[in-house]
Structure formats: structure tokens, C-alpha cells
Symmetry: C2
Subunit: 468 residues, 2 copies
Amino acid sequence: MTKRVENGRPDSAALADVISGLAALLGTRLQTSEALRFQHANMATSVNREPPDAVAFPQTTEEVVAIVRLCASHRVPVIPYGTGTSFEGHVNAPFGGVSVDCSLMNRVLAVHAEDLDCVVEPGITRKALNAHLRDTGLFFPVDPGADASIGGMASTRASGTNAVRYGTMKDNVLALTVVTPEGALVETAHRARKSSAGYDLTRLFVGAEGTLGIITSVTLRLQGIPEAISGGVCPFPSVEAACLATIATIQSGIPVARIELLDALQVRACNLHSGIGLPESPCLFVEFHGSDAGVVEQSERFAELAADLGGGPFTWATAAEERTKLWQTRHDVYWAGFKLRPGAKTIPTDVCVPISRLAECVVATQADIAESRLVGPIVGHVGDGNFHVGLLVDEDDPAEMVRVHAFMERLVRRALSMEGTCTGEHGVGQGKAKYLREEFPAATLDLMGRIKQAIDPLNIMNPGKILL
Amino acid sequence: MTKRVENGRPDSAALADVISGLAALLGTRLQTSEALRFQHANMATSVNREPPDAVAFPQTTEEVVAIVRLCASHRVPVIPYGTGTSFEGHVNAPFGGVSVDCSLMNRVLAVHAEDLDCVVEPGITRKALNAHLRDTGLFFPVDPGADASIGGMASTRASGTNAVRYGTMKDNVLALTVVTPEGALVETAHRARKSSAGYDLTRLFVGAEGTLGIITSVTLRLQGIPEAISGGVCPFPSVEAACLATIATIQSGIPVARIELLDALQVRACNLHSGIGLPESPCLFVEFHGSDAGVVEQSERFAELAADLGGGPFTWATAAEERTKLWQTRHDVYWAGFKLRPGAKTIPTDVCVPISRLAECVVATQADIAESRLVGPIVGHVGDGNFHVGLLVDEDDPAEMVRVHAFMERLVRRALSMEGTCTGEHGVGQGKAKYLREEFPAATLDLMGRIKQAIDPLNIMNPGKILL
């Protein structure tokens, strides 16, 4: 195959040409101030910040096409940008270039209530979309915690607490419009709920982390807001018991909408942060969606399954206030963690394993954290076998950071040894690129490289991510 | 980009070398008899039969690798073969070459009941898999009607009656092992239920119709067999009323497992074939999966929604015998059609549109059938907006066949004009390749072509399918 174009910073004259061309096109919607450039580097985690040379704020697909064509003609990197909430350095510009901030492309283009779908621009956030949908009786279920943009969520194949019931972005994106690295406009599919017409380009761009093009519109599946919701907390004597209860719940066909594991340390953090007063043992936070009678039946059957495994009491409610308080506690785990080590920074990471291996993986990880003298509460989307460790670290302690990095490597390798993956939902970005070589045989990475090369022969689209 | 390799028959000396090499490798598992070669051409429909030059029956992945490498080194086409039940000429060999029949690779390699997944070879059929799973309490839900092979179902992105609840092959394949056109072995993913690690190669091969490689193992999601099932038939005064009842059912969050539209002509055919004695008006066949109480509640709610739209009575049952008879009737629609025109051949085709447009599309199609003086009952996976026309034709009447082909073109264009697709589940193969140019802009087809070129630079893998 053709030799891959090497990464490298663009020629400075070429870069100056691009910046003046974009300023002519966009006026004040092209910015080069240092503050703004640094805001568009990685901000969410401790991955090094690598700012772009300029930030463009397009308002239309046509402007995105013009930006990409100008950059391509000068071989200047293009870095798609949503809200910057990713954890693995996806928005960094290691070779400089132009960050394309889609925040002004945030309109809802169409809502088709009868078809349970909508078409949106990539910059709209999931909360803004759900606010827009409120009167339709529909909602968009994917919830990664952060109020991320839909374009960014599609690009990182995001998921979150609802994925066990409603799937990930892979399952909820029906079609995309994408500007390719050469500035062509690709429609991947139409609004039919399924199709067998050709290669699945939709799924190719979902999770491509902006390395194959910039998404300029997204057609999403929507769900009817359930008639009734019940939810609650169930403590367990051990992580194993909580995981077994999860497996039993799914095997018996209970359509659980959320089932989240918090380990004892995470529960302690939540108690410190929210004063929620939970017993400091492993807990499952669960939620059921359905009819009035259905959610009661599901809750009662879950309580029985939990009790069989020594869990309980399962305290649940259908009233919105109680559930809201509970899920606010769940969503605040990121902030709660800091209570365990005030002044620390957090390093969030995730892996995913088959659920039969989850208990073993979590318990071994807890032991590893203890042996490594680290602080790391664990929270998991346990129905999918996906869990997060939110390490609380002192970045100024080099000896501790050595232990942190060694722990992270072992965490990934433990997941891979259990037929798992180095990331269930955070994506590869820069932080996990090295692990792809451990996760996949060379032929798999060669195939990914061929696809990248075929679609982005100049390697200008978000270079330095996924494939090194 | 590099110029695409033109299609063409292989050099006859090269072909002879390949056949003798394969005979040395496979012994009697390499066949060249005319009868067997013709059996491996398209048999299911009236698409012309184009037999391969030889048929290979590998027993292992290693043998598939050896076959592909030998063919690649001589530029001889390779045509993956499952059960030959596809409708669009997918298994034809328009440029000759070697059909790789996977029927001997039909083992279940692993069942992981706790993880609700299994790993199988591509040649196992869906019924054989479900028979194997019977004692586990699990089942594999995708049901395209024919007892197709899992490898073929993955390759055509098959779906069927259960897709409204359980999704298509796109949603039910977790990972694949694939032999690329150059004979490399690619693992697309592992057994974790979700992953954000790199490009989604799984979904790239699902629906690629064997044009990018040969699948040699498939990891599938399984489902728990529901505690209770209810099902029944509900007549409606019109196609519109049946479609509106479907939309209302889905919008209100009733997790219907199957919802199938039969138009009045199809009901008549079923009455003639099965003596089921249904009222000859549009009908919905529906099925609900859940708990004992849940399926009763779902059935009653559906009956109310149907009645609001003038439908009913909804006759339903939870007893297995009655449901089995009903779904046998549904699965026999292919055979029932012949009762409408004894001696005719059938030309099955499918399109898919957003469900809000389905009634309009079906009604216009019925009018078109009448105006074209054709016989074509309609059956639809109406929850997905997907419907089939089973034209009953006299292939020896050239004037009729002109009307048939003109009708088929209008059917596709009608679906495309409603934001639909030229095929919801049958695939492109040879029969629908020309329509891709109408369904997608040139940039989309260019992107598909680049992917094909990058993965199969010699264009030996199932040439003449999808992309012309």
C-alpha cells in the first residue's frame, strides 16, 4: 500500500495563508488568541494541552467544506471540536492546525415525531436537544454524564448509564452528513430505520473520533418518554454479589434501563459529597422504564433476585424527586471523588469486559489500587461490563505518577486478558492509542490504517489520534 | 486515487493452476462438476444464474486463508457462499472464480450464557444455532424467514420479523474474524458488549456482502427466552389504519416483538394456502414478549390502540400452538403467493421508508401494481417501515416482464423520494447495484469505492456486487 503521510507541523507560510484565508471567509469567527486556542486544547484531564494555531466557528456545512478544502490545499491539520469534554486528548492539536468548533452549528433541523427521529447539527448538546424535545413526548436516551455535543458523542461512540437499555451512539445514529478530508460532502444513509444498501458508512464515522471527516448533521433515533419510571438503590455484601445480581437481571429478561455499580469507596465519596447516607458497601443504582404496572413488577422481581444473592434492602420509588436526587448523586461521582482526597486531580479511565468477568476484574483492580497505594473509587455501567476508575492523584509527586501509569497499564492489560477492550466508551484519542497494538492483531490495525489512508490520504484530519 | 482494477474473467491458465492447487489442498472438498457449480449460482430468484468455476468446502479458517491466498496470487475471484438463500444474486460468479461454501464450518465454538453471547462458525444456520441453544434458556433472535447461515446473514445485514424489538444483524454481531482479500486474518473486536477502541470494523463487514473478505467466525449477542409470549391477528379497515396503529404502538413505548402487515391480497393468499380463515382486509400480525402479566398488559393496550383506529377485533393467545400456527402462516407467505397465480414465478423485492410514509408508500404501490396489471401481494415489517412485494410473474411473457421491470424501478424511486432506501434487508448484490447511484450522492459511492479499493486492491472478493 501507499506509504502513509508522516505527521508533522504544517509549513509556516502555508499556515499563514490558511489563517488569512479563513479570516476572510469567517471574519471574527476565526480566532487566534492564545486564551481561546488553549481553551480548545485538551482541558478535561491531565493529558498535555496541545493548542491549535487557530479556532474556526463555522455556521453552515458549506463553511465547513470551505474550511476543510482550504486546509487540505495547504496540508494544514483540521481538528473537529464539540464541547471538549472528552478524556483522552481527542481535541488536542499535536501538529498544530485549525480547530473547527461546531458550537454555532447547534440547530434542530427537524423532529419527526411519528418516525421517532430527528435531524440536528453537530454542535447541539444532549441536554439542549432534550429540552427542545420536551413537548413531543420523546427523548434522546444516550447520556454520557457530561453535557456533550451530539457530534462529539457520535465521534467518540459515547454511551453511559442508559446504554444497557437503549444502546450506544452506534445504535442511535441513523445517518450522518460528513465533510471528508478532501472537502466532499457524504451522506451516509437516509431516514429509514434500517437499510442493507451498501457499506455501513454511518458506523464507520461513529467512533472515528474525527479522523475521517467532520460531521455536519446527525439523524438520531428517539424514544418515547416512558409512562412510568421506578428507581432505587440496593446494597450488596460484595462486588461479586452485585455483579451476579446484574447478570441474573439481564438473563431473566428484565429490561433494566440503568444498572450502575458503585464500589464501597465510591459510596463513601458520595456520602461525603451529597450526604445521601448510604450503607458503605457495594451498591447498585437501578432504574426501570415501562408502564405503571410494569415498573412495579420489574422492581419487585429485581428485589427478589438481589435478595437471593444476599443483597438488599432494595429501596425504590416511582416519585420523580427521589429518583432525581439519586441520579444526581450518580452523576456527581466525578465531583464526589475529590472529597476523598481534597486538592487532588482526577484521572478518569475506563475499560470494558464480558459481564461474567466483571466482578473478577473489579476486585483485582481494587486490590491493585490498594497495593499501588493509590486512591481510586470505581463506578460501573455494570450491565455492559464497563467500569471507570477515577484516580485521585497528586500530579506533583513523580513517584506517585510512576505508580499511576503502571497501574493504568495493568488495568488495560487485565481487561484485555479477559476478552475485554481498552476503552468501553471514552475512546482512544491520544491516551489509549498505544493500547490498540495490544488489543488487536497487526492485520486489524493494518486494515484500520488502510481505511484512514483511503479516506484521508494527506493525513490532515485530526492527526495523531487512534492510529499512531 | 489509484485506478480501480477492472472486472474480468481470470486467465485460463491461472484458473487451472488455482483449481489444481485447491484440489491438492482440499481433495474431494474441491468440486468442479457442472451440477454443483450451478447449485452454487443464484437459485433463489429469477436473477440469471452465473456459476463459479469450482466450489471449495473449507473446514477451517486456515483453509480459508490458503484458498484466498492462492486465488489472490492468481487474481482469481472468490465468492463466499452460505446457504444461497439471498434474493439479489449475491452468490453469482459473473467473472467466474471459486465459490467458497462454508457449510462444513458449522460448529458452535462457545456459548457464554452469563454474557448472553456465543461464538460460531459462519456456516451454521440460525435454526441449527437455536436448536443448539435450546437448553440454555437463550435464543438468537434474528429471523429472516429462510434458514440462512449466520455468515450469510451477517454479510447481508439480514433482519426480519423480530428486528423491531431485537435489531438487525448490525445490532447482534459483537465481533467477527475475517480473512481479507489478501489472506490476512482480522479480528474486528472482542467479547465486551461495547467498545470505543478504533474504527468499527465489525459493522464494516456486516452488510459488505462478502466483497471485503470472508467471515470465518461470528460472535453473536443472545437473548433470554421470554417468560411469556402472546400473539395474535388484528384486521384493519385500511392500510393507513394499520400503519397508524403501528406508529401509536411504538410511540407509546409498548415493546412489541413483531408487528407485521399483510395487505388484503396477501391475506387472501394465506387463506388459500393455510385455510386460516382470516377476514380479507389488511391485517397486523403482532407478538409480545415479557412476563406473564406484561404480555397481557401489552396485548390489551395494543387492542385499545387498534380499536381507536377502527381496527379489531384483536384475537390473541398465549398458548404456543395457536401462536405457532399464526407465525407459520406468516412465514409461508412466499409459498402462499403462488396460490394467487398457479404456475407463476415469484420475484421478491423490498424497500424501506420512514414509518410515517409507509401507508402512503404501500397504497401507492398497490395502485401501481393494479395499473401495471401485475399480481403482487405485500407483507411488511411495518415497525421498521420495511415491506416486501412478492410479484407473481410469467417470465415467458416479454410484455409482462417489461411492466415488471418498470414497476420495480418505480417502487425503488418511490421509496427514495420518501427518504427511504432501495433495500431494507435483502441487500444490493447484483440486482440493486444500479440503484445505489440514485440513493446516494457520488461522494458517498466514491467513499465506498475507496474502502473497497483499500481492502481489496485486486478486486477479487465477490466482484460485481454492490459497486459496479
